[in-house]
Amino acid sequence: MIATIVDTQALGRSVVAAIASGVGVTLIFALTLWSASRWIESQREGRGALAAAFAGLAIAGLAAFAAAVALGIVVMTHKS
């Protein structure tokens, strides 16, 4: 009954995409902050190579977060 009234396929896809994107973006952002925090700590402790590695990870995370935001704007402009 409900299946004939509700577009269950769109609903299912929406739920999966919402959970995946919500969890994914949060994970990326949390890892970015973790890397930035470790970077500062490593610098303070004078471990240059490790600091550089964490800096790279933080920048990559930031880029991924920016890409997710850009994707969100594209989704908004292409609503059907």
């Binding site: 929406s14 995409a17 919402a18 994107s21 973006v25 952002f29 970015t32 925090s37 700590e41 059907s80």
Partner: protein, 364 residues
């Protein structure tokens, strides 16, 4: 002449609804940013107003589909649309008065359904559309957002629990500015469209526009301005409920709730299943609280919010039906809508003055 007067009243009422929509739903976008001090209150509502304005211009895809799946098109007349808007505005103001975040879109749909029911009987209401487009999404939206918010805060605490709070808090505050901006933009693309749709529908039924026309530029600009103005004025009572009364929020919870909300809204929009911004953010806030500790959520406040959601459709429908019935007392001309609009304006002005005198919280 009569029909032109009704059209003017419908346009003015639609813009008034748009204003209450911005005013009422500001809370969804900025409450968590304000409560975690990611942004100063005035700056936050100004930022949200600007992005709501911009969002109204981004996409016109849903502008002509308001209530089209829940009410038979033959039952929609300018007076039905007017009565429906009265129902939606009245319910928005009631829930604002009690500081309860409820869906403006559901209020609009409820108002139009009630007015159409009063005008043309039960056959005018498409029950399958009400279930499929309103009731099921109303259940799914907060549930999904709750789950995403709870998982998101668990991840944040797991990954960052042992880090120094200084950089972490600053980072989450920056994240909240971005996620709040996404929410404001998404709100503008969804909700300003509904007003454009209502005005366009009224212009088409009055013969001023051909069927299937896009909204004229003045409609787009005025709808964008009304929602942005309402957002800037801000519904501080609802902001307080969303920001501090459901849970006492830290920066990680604020980011989790807003990030979860933005992701859920955009993902569902992408797959053609748009969900209520209000329901999503409220669910995200509760999830971000419960993900830390179930008892951290003030379930009494949450219960009141859910009750307001459940009542939105029938209450707005009842007011919409009553408004339609009232206008018919004065015949089919413009007299009924004119008298009702004037009476409504007086009541709203009185309520605002009383509320402001009572000292509604307006942060600097």
């Amino acid at each position: 002449m009569h029909s032109d007067l009704i059209l003017v009243i419908v346009v003015a009422t639609a813009l008034a609804f748009d204003f209450t929509n911005g005013f009422h739903d500001t809370a969804n976008v900025v409450a968590t940013s304000i409560s975690t001090r990611a942004m100063a209150p005035r700056l936050a509502v100004g930022y949200a107003a600007l992005l709501n304005f911009a969002g109204a211009f981004i996409s016109l895809a849903v502008a002509a589909t308001v209530a089209s799946d829940v009410v038979a098109s033959g039952a929609i007349t300018p007076t039905v649309v007017f009565a429906g808007l009265v129902g939606a505005i009245a319910w928005n103001l009631v829930t604002w008065y009690f500081g309860l975040p409820s869906s403006s879109s559901h209020a609009l749909i409820g108002g139009v359904v009630g007015a159409a029911f009063a005008a043309a009987g039960a056959d005018a209401v498409l029950a399958a559309g009400v279930v499929g487009k309103v009731l099921v999404p109303a259940l799914v939206a907060p549930t999904v957002a709750f789950v995403v918010g709870a998982i998101a805060i668990w991840i944040c605490y797991r990954v960052l629990g042992r880090e120094r709070p200084g950089i972490v808090n600053r980072g989450f505050r920056i994240g909240q500015v971005v996620s709040g901006g996404m929410l404001a933009l998404a709100h503008g693309t969804n909700d300003a469209q509904k007003t454009m749709g209502v005005i366009t529908l009224a212009l088409v039924t009055n013969g001023n526009l051909a069927e299937g026309s896009d909204p004229p530029t003045w409609v787009i600009v005025s709808a964008a301005t009304a929602i942005a103005l309402g957002t800037y004025i801000g519904g501080w009572r609802i902001i307080r409920t969303m920001g501090t009364r459901i849970i006492k929020m830290d920066t990680a919870q604020g980011f989790s709730a807003q990030g979860a909300g933005a992701a859920v809204i955009l993902a569902s929009s992408h797959y053609g299943f748009p969900l209520s911004t209000t329901h999503v953010i409220s669910g995200g806030v509760m999830g971000a609280g419960a993900g830390r500790r179930v008892s951290a959520v003030r379930w009494g406040v949450a219960g009141n919010i859910v009750l307001a959601w459940l009542l939105t459709l029938p209450a707005a429908a009842a007011i919409g039906a009553a408004a339609y019935g009232f206008t018919r007392i004065f015949g089919t001309g413009a007299a009924g809508p004119v008298i009702l609009a004037a009476a409504g304006l007086c009541l709203v002005t009185l309520a605002f003055v009383r509320r402001l005198r009572a000292g509604a919280p307006v942060p600097a």
